[in-house]
Subunit: 403 residues, 2 copies
């Protein structure tokens, strides 16, 4: 097995390690840029290399629908298809199926009919549901064309084998904060059964490492039960996913409940979380890797990261909106302390102009800056953990109360 | 004066030369990527360097409206503002004013009222015109917010001095193929008067070279008269602009009429023309530099250039539409003979996927390919002109009848 995790040192619960994959090492704590559709939006692979991106996460749901996992497979797998030579991760597809389904049906029963031939009143039938879960798997409609599809643990693993990422995730049911404890417990049973079935379907063990996903909503008992289950399942790594509660504090509690129950010799990934304060909180609670679209999505809206030296605070979420008129004549870089190529070359005035003029380059430059900003913060975190100074860094960033 | 043109050799009427500017040399024949709003759409300056772009052309009209030529000036001029260290060109603003004005009013009198306080019937008044020309200059409305503005020769030169490009253009009235000879002659008188006034207003002669613009529509007598006028005006270079007739043949005729009358020791720029066949035809008729949005605009629509070896012909305009389903599984590069980074790294299938999935990266990769494709063709043209084999190259590309 070419996958391994070396835990080098700790500082409190913060961990400094290395994940070794067939496509290279990931130094942890690490942040994973998200390349949903086999591209980190607006960036090419040279951009990813230049910012020292350690790994890219793509979404199985999206690649399955477009261009098709068979196409990705025929073109050598995700990395080769997108021209990337580093490590890759795929999710199980569950999150998109459940979040697009439940999210769009917000407040509507999860068990509604999605099949037009079922016996439902005409009025309800016309409003077709996007997904329907059962113990075996989940049926869902494509958000692209409404076509019907089905995912099971076995199928998710099969699709992820076709995509060929270094790290793949067990199939899970992702619940929402709107689900009650009873439903969440029922979903967790399925998630555990699906994790076991995912492990059984996982045949490509020399090339891909399977991570089990800890679920259980914001319910302490369920989260502990799930962490224990995944720990006992004996897979190469863990992800913490699903509903992380209704507040930041809920999320921190969930991490406090779960990470102590997970085998410390295996890496832990926190799914879909990656704002600055959350990264500090996660690392402080023993999370090794993060993925999140916030840095890139915000960038496309003109929200760019700034460090404490440039006025960033927990209150302003370390951001400023570069498209604001206040920057129309600002000759300085986004962040004087940043080592990204955008800050080396371009003024706030120029980037503001690009956003004002609806030039796509603005989104790309902001994306490069935001990702490099986060990746550099991770580099700094790795250094201070080695030196047992993680709390100092948190203080410097004004987020000491989060760690 | 730091601007000069060295004509090194000729092959028939095709010319091989070097334009020297304060920001570096432009080897000719050359193609100028268009950076309308101080960015070549989707690209950053590293992309321009990697593809060996010799120069960038920006539009005075657009920069005047947004971010303002004063802003560009305060940030060190166009090149510095956009982070580009090579040569730059600006147009006079005339083309946009007249093309947006007349184009949008297609078929409507050019002398219509644009001022709400003038005595016009209510019905017409409500349809405010976008521009109004007089002998002194042109009043126009911004296409962004409808605000009123005025351009004169003196003002155009002043704005271009603020922008600070190496090569600037005299202010001109750009006519349309719909204008008759009488109107075109009247407009030409203004264009000549404005060229003389532009020369008088051109004070920054050590830093910027002024090119006069040959106009006259598709009327032989007017074009000859204009070429003679610009030649006699004794400015550092010439541009051939305006209406180039209703057919490709009209354009070739216009070049045949005009370039022989222009001082061969000065460079000639063909404004807004740059498709493959037209570049061959222009170079064959003594044009040194070209600018055109076709390569970049087409790229954003998925039309990518292919060489004769990859199936490109004059009939298909050396293009294929990469977003077509036919390329969904095509593992080859856009053009196997192309030396751009896109063809070195990415398959047609991947780029097709990016277009199908509405990923901005698709537009950027296609833009990089198309521009490098044209720039490389220009490199090849320079080589064959030196070797007196320009006609051979035209034959190889199947466009011998154009040269």
């Amino acid at each position: 097995m070419v996958f391994s995790f070396d835990l080098q040192t700790t500082d409190g619960r913060a961990r400094r390690g290395t994940i070794r994959t067939p496509h290279g090492d990931i130094e942890t704590p690490a942040f994973t840029p998200v390349g949903t559709q086999a591209t980190v939006k607006t960036l090419d692979v040279d951009d990813l290399h230049a910012m020292k991106a350690p790994v890219v996460l793509a979404n199985t749901y999206h690649l399955y629908l477009r261009p098709g996992t068979d196409v990705v497979e025929r073109h050598g797998g995700l990395a080769k298809f997108m021209g990337w030579d580093g490590p890759t991760i795929t999710d199980s597809g569950g999150f998109q199926v459940f979040s697009l389904g439940f999210g769009l049906e917000h407040g509507v029963s999860k068990i509604s009919n999605i099949f037009p031939d079922e016996d439902v009143p005409e009025r309800r039938q016309s409003k077709q549901k996007l997904m329907k879960v059962d113990d075996e798997g989940v049926s869902f409609r494509s958000h692209l064309d409404g076509s019907l599809h089905r995912l099971t643990a076995e199928r998710s693993v099969k699709l992820q084998q076709q995509i060929g990422a270094d790290i793949i995730l067990a199939f899970d049911e992702c619940t929402s904060p709107l689900h009650d404890e009873r439903y969440t417990a029922r979903a967790l049973e399925r998630t555990h059964a699906w994790a076991r079935r995912s492990k059984e379907a996982w045949t490509n063990r020399e090339q891909q490492a399977l991570f089990g996903i800890v679920q259980g909503g914001a319910y302490k008992g369920l989260r502990e039960q799930s962490a224990q289950y995944m720990n006992d399942l004996d897979v190469p790594g863990y992800a913490i996913g699903g509903s992380l509660g209704r507040s930041k504090q809920d999320m921190y509690d969930i991490l406090d409940w779960t990470t102590p129950l997970l085998d410390p010799s295996k890496p832990r990934h926190l799914l879909g979380i990656g704002e600055i304060g959350d990264i500090f909180a996660g690392v402080a609670r023993g999370v090794d890797t993060f993925d999140c679209v916030a840095a890139t999505r915000m960038a496309r809206n003109g929200a760019v990261y700034i460090s404490p030296e440039a006025g960033g605070t927990a209150a302003n979420k370390f951001r400023l909106n570069i498209s604001g008129a206040a920057f129309a004549d600002d000759a300085g870089p986004i962040d004087p302390g940043c080592d990204c190529k955008v800050c080396a070359t371009h003024s706030r005035a120029y980037i503001r102009h690009l956003f004002a003029a609806n030039e796509m380059l603005g989104m790309r430059l902001a994306t490069i800056h935001n990702l490099r900003f986060v990746l550099r913060l991770m580099e700094e975190m790795r250094e201070v953990i080695e030196e047992k100074r993680f709390n100092e860094l948190a203080k410097k960033w004004g987020v000491a109360e989060l760690v």
